[in-house]
Subunit: 468 residues, 2 copies
């Protein structure tokens, strides 16, 4: 199986039969028991409440302690249609541009940008739509910021004949007509949020029909609409356990592909917004670390300096959304009312990190790095130039850390094999590069005082009372 | 080798080793001798003039009568980096939406949209840059409209360390900042045309520094700059024979993939601007038709009603560009001064068709269909919804014809296997779909009187005097 890697074979490809047959559940391997979700009122969430909000199949997965959770064949077929398995690339030309010794420092990336919707998001959109269909729902509601998640869920809804209702933050709806088009083409309905379709929306819409909106308001609208109609449930694109689970196809494929290349990752890197693409690539490696099979693998989260929850946040109970409609979870957070600076990596502008990722960070099983915007975009430009792919600003965070790790190893003349997740392409996000070309790209310092202010609103949860 | 095609195996994938080792030269199989290029003054173009303008390796290919022209290994490696071989998809979900009997009417498409630059253009950009490097050039100049070609050549220039200078029609430069970003990221220089960098440009620029430009002016600027500096030559993205040759990797791969699927194309479809992606997919099938191996394969060009050169033009000698700097060729044309209506498929807004394609149409070895804009965008929306990929407006023409052919076969209860080329994605061209959403998408009737006016300017070529 081991291939001679060369310029002709810089991509390791798998056949559709090699789409994983199971999702990898990290739960049985965690160094301590994971915390439950709480309702917005601070009480433990009964299973029925979760099943009213999310598809039953997803809720069941979130409470499973099985190592492997089978992926239904219909989901594997839909993943195949969405370009899975994705290629693993050896970044030969990037390595050369960095002056690495290619026998010693190697860079690989898993290319999730080949999905027709442009990112890893389809990996969970498809199962969520599939289980919604099993629940005999009419449809799903969701929110989207820049639109990557909205596009993926709309595509998946099209596959299973579901009505998808997307609330998009109005400012993004206006600035990114490309993704609005994509979502509409998939047959979903998309409305700018705040809208006049929900009570949560009307609070803002009635005062200002052109209100720019926020992810917090859009989540509230989507949840409200789902709970008000028994034909609908709510769908989330990151953060929660079952989303991280669905993304593990990424890391499982990458492990097989690295083995085919005759290699083994010393470092695994992903960018973190809610944490799902990062969880997706690293959980299979984390399992090997936690079980002692590969105790030294170095796992790194790449975050924007504008929203560095893992690097600078606190590990506390907090609301999942700013409007306090979504569950409360224990996670690294900057406070649910914290509004990150308008960095171009819109997908990383979230105040918290997935509970499972947060728990692993708390136990020092991984580390995190916060990066400035100019640096990551410059890394993305070097990547475009050498690897030919225009990366999403989110993915540029992972690229920047991979480059830093490789150069550090080169300086020390160390052997190091680096793997990062290229979570998506930047075809709809070229404004970030344009700003750099025009000398208008800003760096934002970590806003310490604003985070301190936001952290004052943490909910008051008594773990002992809850028996935790 | 024959696969059971099912939802999991809806894509037929090849390994990088299966990138063709040769380009297929259609010249030895043509039903009559092809016509030479003439200089803009109507005289036969001496080889030296051609070699001053284009890389020597490309000029040599254009005069070859060998059936197979070897593809250098370095070019195959660069094609591999650009996602070759591309997948062949069976359009199961589109077939189902059309109510086809999937044992009888089958639709396949070759997916060139997976290239990092977004289209088939890299297939010729890479060899042109490679042969420019062999000529020890500093760089290449070119023009681009919407930017697909400019992006591909810039990417290829980056691979071979060439300086690429792109003149982009100013109106597109202003309207499509996404492709400007992509071209700049690849390290090329891009200027809006008309510019003040050439005499051809200054004629217009000095009167109006914000002149919207045209492809004709941009070609003149690129040719002038190439001829004024011995370190540079000129690069073209379509029309000429060697470009059609380079694109034959598409059809060669498709034939192998269809065979793997246990199938055989009855109909082969591509959209036509200059004609290179169409030539690329159909030449291998055309060879089989011309040699009697497969005499009945039906080969169809899909054109916009706004520029239907093959359907409604004349087969005459004409200038390749509106500024009369480029060679004169014998082709189907609407007249070099004809300006097509502003359809969204910018890549199809060219007045002529490749001489090799034109010759085959003249001999009735293929046919052509002209389509209205609303119809093709509606076909593209159905394709998005079913196959999940957002197609370029150019490619939507091929989709529309494929759908029509399939439905006609269904009506007659006929067996028919249809293959079309999906030449590129529409991530940078969403304005066309937005216009449809907003009810603002226009159809343009064939402008008969304007074509008649433009045809009055055909050059006066005496074939007998030239010994043709």
């Amino acid at each position: 199986m081991v291939k001679n890697m060369d310029q002709l074979h810089n991509r390791i490809l798998l056949s559709p039969d090699q789409i994983p047959k199971n999702w990898l559940n990290i739960a049985p391997f965690l160094p301590s028991k994971p915390y439950p979700l709480l309702l917005p009122n601070g009480k433990p969430a009964p299973a029925e409440a979760m099943m009213r909000m999310f598809p039953v199949g997803c809720v069941m997965q979130a409470v499973s302690q099985e190592e492997f959770i089978p992926i239904p064949q219909e989901i594997r077929e839909a993943l195949a249609m969405n370009a899975r398995p994705t290629p693993l690339h050896r970044a030969f030309r990037l390595e050369k541009a960095l002056g690495l010794d290619s026998d010693k420092q190697k860079i690989y990336y898993k290319n999730e940008s080949v999905s027709p919707t442009g990112s890893h998001k389809a990996n969970t959109a498809i199962p969520q739509a599939y289980y919604a269909k099993q629940d005999k729902l009419k449809g799903l509601t969701t929110e989207t910021g820049a639109g990557q998640w909205g596009a993926a869920l709309s595509m998946a809804g099209g596959i299973y004949g579901l009505d998808i209702k997307v609330f998009q933050v109005r400012i993004s709806y206006q600035q990114k007509p490309g993704r609005v088009v994509m979502i509409s083409n998939y047959g979903a309905s998309i409305v700018p949020s705040p809208s006049n379709m929900t009570a949560s929306g009307r609070q803002f819409y009635d005062k200002d029909p052109n209100h720019p909106g926020s992810l917090g308001i859009a989540i509230s609208e989507a949840v409200e609409m789902a709970l008000s109609d028994p034909g609908y449930k709510y769908s989330l694109g990151s953060v929660v356990d079952f989303v991280c689970l669905h993304q593990t196809v990424i890391g499982q494929e990458a492990q097989i592909q690295l083995e085919m290349a005759g290699d083994k990752a010393d470092v695994v890197i992903g960018c973190v917004g809610g944490g799902s693409n990062f969880a997706g690539i690293m959980f299979p490696f984390m399992k090997d670390k936690l079980t002692g099979k590969d105790p030294n693998v170095d796992i790194i989260a790449a975050e924007p300096m504008a929203a560095p929850k893992l690097s600078k946040g606190v590990y506390e109970w907090d609301f999942g959304d700013s409007a306090h409609q979504a569950p409360i979870v224990k996670m690294y957070t900057l406070g649910s009312s914290f509004i990150p600076a308008p960095v171009h990596a819109g997908g990383l502008r979230y105040h918290g990190a997935a509970p499972l990722v947060s728990l692993l960070q708390k136990h020092n099983k991984m580390r995190s790095v916060a990066l400035h915007q100019r640096k990551i975009i410059e890394s993305g430009i070097l990547f475009s130039k050498t690897e030919c792919i225009l990366p999403a600003p989110e993915s540029c965070h992972a690229i920047a850390v991979a480059i830093d790790e490789a150069l550090a190893a080169k300086d020390k003349n160390e052997k190091k094999t680096i793997l990062f997740n290229l979570s998506g392409h930047g075809h709809f996000d070229t404004a970030a590069y344009k700003a750099h070309m025009d000398g208008k790209l800003e760096d934002y310092e970590y806003p310490e005082s604003e985070v301190q202010k936001a952290l004052k609103d943490l909910p008051n949860i008594n773990e002992k009372e809850l028996g935790l």
